[in-house]
Symmetry: C2
């Protein structure tokens, strides 16, 4: 007899074997594709190391017997066909790109973990009814083109994403289309829209990820079941003054764009703290001044600001406060605002009930304690939520560190995460 | 009969011909050796464009019949021999390196102007008693190795300059010695100390320069005679926090090094304004944050700060204030100070009386109004003052702009400046 997850009762589930050692080996190998030395990982969209990582993921998918396809912008799918191929599939995946000087688990666990979850189900001869697809999304991180989740936004046909991608250029003035072509996606321009998916493609989507926060580790709980993803917004702001010689230009005659930038960075912090909620966060992650010489009064400042909250209205109030501060600082310092761009201002997403339920049951059936939680980081699942019910499974990570080289999750915790994912997928694919 | 400047009275002096059009042509040609597009000029020590500029200067010197020599670090001298070669020479020159995105007059006028002044004296068959040397100093700007006036510091054997040069590395970890070698200075390491000069080499040094301030233009005065050069100091400060994910790391758990940097930049401004004197200036010209990704809490900040004053004690008080602020900010924000380096903290320099007198007389004899003034920018003359009496001649520049692409001095003003320089040199070489 089979249980609701399609796995034989009284044995198979308990002995579901996840090869944690192999998974760790693969994570380590993938970390080698980096633009910066170990232990840092830097893997930027469409660069040679990103292409190498993609090749590696496709190889693992093929070795797992999955049929591999790529869409026009490089989202990668490894499909384990179901007994009823006409049914919407169950998807699971994440990203393998990494911001500069980051670590090796963010995103990677969700891609390699999905493949290993499929392998674990194959080992117990599980036969999915709905197809199960392992997914690697193109550029979850905003590093190269200034906004994140390119792949999942395209899948969800979010906003003006295709027009935005066609118009996007990186800091070196390389267009998205040129960059994609250089990575082997030759028909990206003509076929861009074909990356968009309808609501009939997936019946559910599940993303396994390190928590990127300290709660699970602190409380000693191995599994987080995500009930909602916080609402992210990001801004680009530019100030311009007149610059001049640091010795000769007297203080009353200056309009120092660098100091305007410094003030705005501090204003971001003030507005966030003024929200009064620990759930509001704001960061000036980029602050560049130009020309950047010790003896030159800064003529330009360029900021990139990230604001998130689980409460969309509260987040929008912070964004409005930042705009007001930019204006008052510009006025006070007699600099011009050359740019105030809301790059994205997305709503939060709630997890699908059936996915939360499946994940909870999976953890329970494995005897693993779990915690219902909010994801403060955003993920491709935020956009997948627009075309299918989604859910996320978190595993603890060292001190909550992420986006740093000492980002770490133990093999034991990752193994438990993949076990929960496997059972969740088996249940969703059987429903 | 000859006047005190050695030029025939009653004719030659009034008709002293300075070829301003040619000078402008040369300035324009030199501006073409730039790492960034016109109208910006970027010419960094020992790069191919710096080497090209050096070649150009040496060619002009040779064409003027000067005997050209270079020292171990690339200070360039073009000597017009005097009738008594045993006497200390009169030097005149400046620099041709340019900070990123700068203009084409800063420094360049003083190098090409010195050569043209010699040519003007040659045209009237002036015969110097003391040799007159046109000088191009190596790296007045601090761009590459973080401190300026490398060439003149070496000539003056200032502080631990030779040890510092041997130990210096640029931002790409290229050592000063390697960089100099790549520019053709093969024996730089062995012969470094030979760049140092004694007090017997020059009897006087004069530098022609654009004002880099607005006063001459505002008051409609064509010539500034500099009586003192302000005291410069520069600092490097580094902060380090723990970084983390911009979405997941809650505000109370952060120690954002970028915000510490922003606060210190604003504190620099506060300390400077608190001096109460318009003569105190302070600039955070470099503020870099790391890793510099929109979704990453800054882990490191690196600042370069410039403080100057004509009053050394008042300047030192500002430097002390910045140090205290760095410490209190680090404590408050729980970040570490990884670096607090006083790169240089030089005393001001007074011009030599005989040079001020010669320049005043030169202006008067040409019927040009002049103004006694302070140089707030520092120059190689600040260090030449340690081995010889020095002076500077300023010409007006557009709105006082400098270190920007719209830096500008008119041919008419530059021509007058070179005329005053020529007469000053003739007088000093005859004394
Ligand atoms: Mn990430
Ligand atoms: Mn991620
Ligand atoms: Mn300069
Ligand atoms: Mn200069």
């Amino acid at each position: 007899s089979t249980g609701s997850d399609g796995i034989c009762k009284g044995g198979a589930r308990e002995t579901l074997f996840v090869d944690g050692a192999k998974l760790q080996e693969q994570i380590d190998e993938l970390a080698g594709f980096s633009d910066t030395p170990a232990p840092t990982v830097t893997r930027i969209l469409y660069t040679p190391n990103d292409v190498a990582a993609r090749r590696y993921v496709k190889t693992l998918m093929s070795e797992a017997g999955l049929s591999v396809r790529e869409d026009a912008i490089g989202n990668i799918f490894g499909r384990w066909e179901g007994s009823d191929p006409s049914l919407p599939a169950v998807g699971s995946g994440s990203h393998t790109d990494a911001i500069p000087y980051a670590g090796k688990y963010d995103g990677v666990l969700g891609v390699l973990g999905a493949i290993e979850a499929i392998r674990a189900l194959q080992r117990v001869n599980f036969q999915p009814k709905r197809a199960i697809e392992a997914v690697m999304f193109t550029s979850e991180e905003p590093t190269r083109f200034g906004f994140g989740c390119l792949g999942s936004r395209a899948m969800a046909k979010s906003g003006e994403i295709f027009d935005i991608l066609r118009a996007s250029k990186d800091a070196n003035n390389v267009s998205f289309v040129e960059a994609a072509r250089s990575a082997g996606y030759g028909d990206v321009e003509e076929k861009l829209e074909s990356s968009g998916l309808g609501h009939e493609v997936y019946s559910a989507f599940v993303e396994l990820h390190i928590e990127q926060g300290p709660l699970l580790e602190k409380e000693g709980i191995p599994i987080g079941v995500v009930t909602a993803i916080a609402a992210p917004a990001s801004l680009k702001v530019g100030f311009k003054g007149d610059g001049g010689h640091a010795g000769a230009l007297l203080m009353p005659d200056r309009n120092d764009a660098g100091l305007a930038g410094a003030e705005l960075a501090l204003a971001v912090e003030e507005h966030v703290l003024a929200s009064g909620s620990v759930d509001t966060v704001g960061t000036t992650g980029v602050l560049e001044i130009h020309p950047g010489a010790v003896n030159s009064v800064p003529r330009e400042a360029r900021l990139e600001i990230d604001v998130r909250d689980i409460d969309e209205a509260r987040r929008d109030k912070v964004v409005a406060g930042i705009r007001a501060s930019a204006e008052s600082i510009a006025k006070k310092r007699n600099v011009r605002i050359t740019n105030f761009e809301v790059v994205n201002q997305d709503p939060p997403a709630k997890s699908g009930e059936k996915i939360v339920e499946a994940a909870k049951q999976a953890a329970e059936s494995l005897g693993l304690e779990y915690k219902l939680m909010i994801s403060r980081a955003y993920h491709d699942s935020l956009f997948m939520a627009r075309i299918t019910p989604m859910g996320m499974i978190f595993v603890p990570c060292f001190k909550g560190y992420s986006h740093r080289p000492d980002e770490f999750a133990s093999v034991e915790d990752m193994t438990k995460g993949v076990q929960v994912l496997a059972l969740t997928l088996s249940q969703l694919s059987s429903a």
